[in-house]
Structure formats: C-alpha cells, structure tokens
C-alpha cells in the first residue's frame, strides 16, 4: 500500500468541494475570501501531485504563480472589503445588491 496520484487528486477534489460549499453558503464577505483560498490551495495540491508523479517541474511553477496571484487577490479583496465596510457598515454579501433589477 502506498500513496498514489489518485490519493492526492481526491484530496484536492474534496478540498475544492469544501471551498465551493463555503463560497455558496457563506454570507460574510471575509469568509467567502477564505473559502476561495481553500479552493486555490486544493488546485495547488493537485498540480504539485501531478507534477511529482509525471516527473515534471512545471507543475510547481504554475503552483508558484497561483500562490502569488492568491496573495495579490487577498490584498485587493481585503482593501475592497474595508472600503465597503467603511461606507455601509456591513459585511453581509447581500448588502451588495444595489444593482439587482
């Protein structure tokens, strides 16, 4: 018994589905951002696992790019959330429904 690529891919799928559930269920904007972090990490686990089993280093490079993009996404997202909170005093995602027809 050993750990194969399928184990890592299934772990990534489970983490991705958990993050997706959090994104759909949560009402708090900060927790939606946290769920998106979980989804990005699930994809990183799958990429690095595939790269390891193929013997190719480029999976790690794509994972590194995803990590950097996640960091900048957090910076911009939290800036937007802080600006929103200053104006409307609410972290509820339903408060951003001004454009609903």
């Amino acid at each position: 018994m050993s750990i194969t690529l399928t184990h890592y891919l299934i772990l990534g799928s489970i983490l991705f589905a958990i993050g997706l559930y959090g994104m759909m269920k949560r009402k708090n904007i900060i927790l939606i951002l946290l769920s998106s972090e979980i989804m990005l990490n699930a994809i990183n686990v799958a990429l690095i696992g595939i790269g390891y089993h193929i013997g190719n280093i480029e999976g790690q490079i794509v994972a590194l790019f995803i990590l950097a993009i996640a960091a900048s996404e957090v910076a911009v997202g939290l800036g937007l959330v802080i600006a929103w909170y200053k104006k409307y005093k609410s972290l509820d995602i339903d408060s951003i429904a001004n454009l609903r027809g």
């Binding site: 018994m1 299934i10 799928s13 958990i18 759909m24 769920s35 690095i48 193929i54 480029e58």
Partner: protein, 191 residues
C-alpha cells in the same frame, strides 16, 4: 524509509494524518460561526497543506506556502479584522444550504469518481514517458529547488516578471483603497 506493518509509515501515515487535519480545518472554516475560529483554523489548514508539498519533493513551495499563507495572508486577514467588529457572530441564512450542499457534494463525487475510474497513475506514467521536457533533461540536477529556479528564470522569466508587476499593482491598489484621499475633488466623499 522505515517500513512498519508492511507499508511505508512516513508517506502513508503522513498523508492520512495531514489529509485529515486539512479537511477538518477546511470544514471548520466553512462552518464556524466565529470568524476568529475560522481564521485560526485556516492557518492550521494551510500549514498542514504545506506538509503535502514537502512530501511531494517541492521543498521550495512548501517553505513559500508556510511564509505566504501561514504568515502573510493570515496576518493580513487578522489586520483587516481589527477594523471590523468581529465580536458579533456572523449572520448566516439557511436559505440556500441544501442547494450548496447538493452542488458541492455532487462535484466532489464526480471529481473523485473521475479520478478513481480513469487510473490517473497510468496517465501520468504515459505522459512522463512521452513528454517533451527538453528544458529539464539538460539540467543534470536532482535538487528540485535548484531545478525550479533554473526553469523559472529561463523559460518562465516573462511570467515571473509579470507576477512581480501584479504584486506591485496589488500593493498600490491595497494602499489606495484603505487610505483616505485628502486631495479628493469629489465633495461627496467627505461624508
């Protein structure tokens, strides 16, 4: 490699322990009522995910994951939460709970079934035999961190520079969004 009970105790045991920790912590993140608990659980979950990177011979990415997720991103969220009133519990509605559960469980089962059914290990072996990895074969180095650096700074140098530009843009946007503009010509912004 230490073999106890007929299997490799480090890779198998480590995988299941850290998988349990990361999945449990992710479940706490998406279900906790207290935002501080969710944030602490995410910190532990990210640290346990970095263990997979170490097990997959990606030491550099493991260290980067520890620094960026365990340090910077959690600190950024903690800093942002000081500006909000995090004492009150999060308002959650149960309205779309079952739809979200159904969709995410369906996607999890579909992905897992695909990966089990398709025998991804055989695909990986096939690809690794037929892949055109010229840029890797002329590097006679076994150290994956050195290999990563050599490929990152030759073949993917444009992407690397663009990531630097993206981080700079994110920095400027982050500063610009949370500072008050004193020179704003718009009088409505002074509320």
């Amino acid at each position: 490699m230490e073999s106890i009970f007929g299997f490799d105790i480090f890779s198998v045991g480590g995988f299941y322990i850290f998988a349990a920790i990361s999945i449990g912590m992710s479940l706490i993140v998406v279900s906790s009522k207290n935002i501080l608990h969710a944030l602490s659980a995410m910190a532990l979950g990210m640290v346990s995910i970095s263990a997979f990177y170490f097990m997959l011979d990606a030491e550099f990415l493991g260290v980067v994951q520890l620094i960026v997720y365990g340090g910077a991103i959690v600190a950024l969220y903690a800093f942002a939460m000081m500006l909000f009133d995090s004492r009150e519990d999060i308002i959650e509605s149960r309205r779309n709970l079952y739809v979200a559960l159904l969709i995410s469980a369906g996607i999890a089962v579909a992905l897992a079934y695909t990966f089990i059914d398709a025998d991804m290990g055989a695909y990986a072996k096939y690809i690794s035999q037929n892949i055109d990895n010229l840029s890797q074969n002329d590097i006679p180095i076994n150290d994956t961190s050195k290999k990563l650096g050599l490929i990152l700074f030759t073949k993917y140098i444009v992407g690397f520079e663009l990531i630097g530009l993206l981080l700079l843009v994110a920095l400027v946007i982050g500063i610009g969004l949370i500072t008050k503009s004193k020179l704003s010509p718009n009088p409505r912004s002074k509320k």
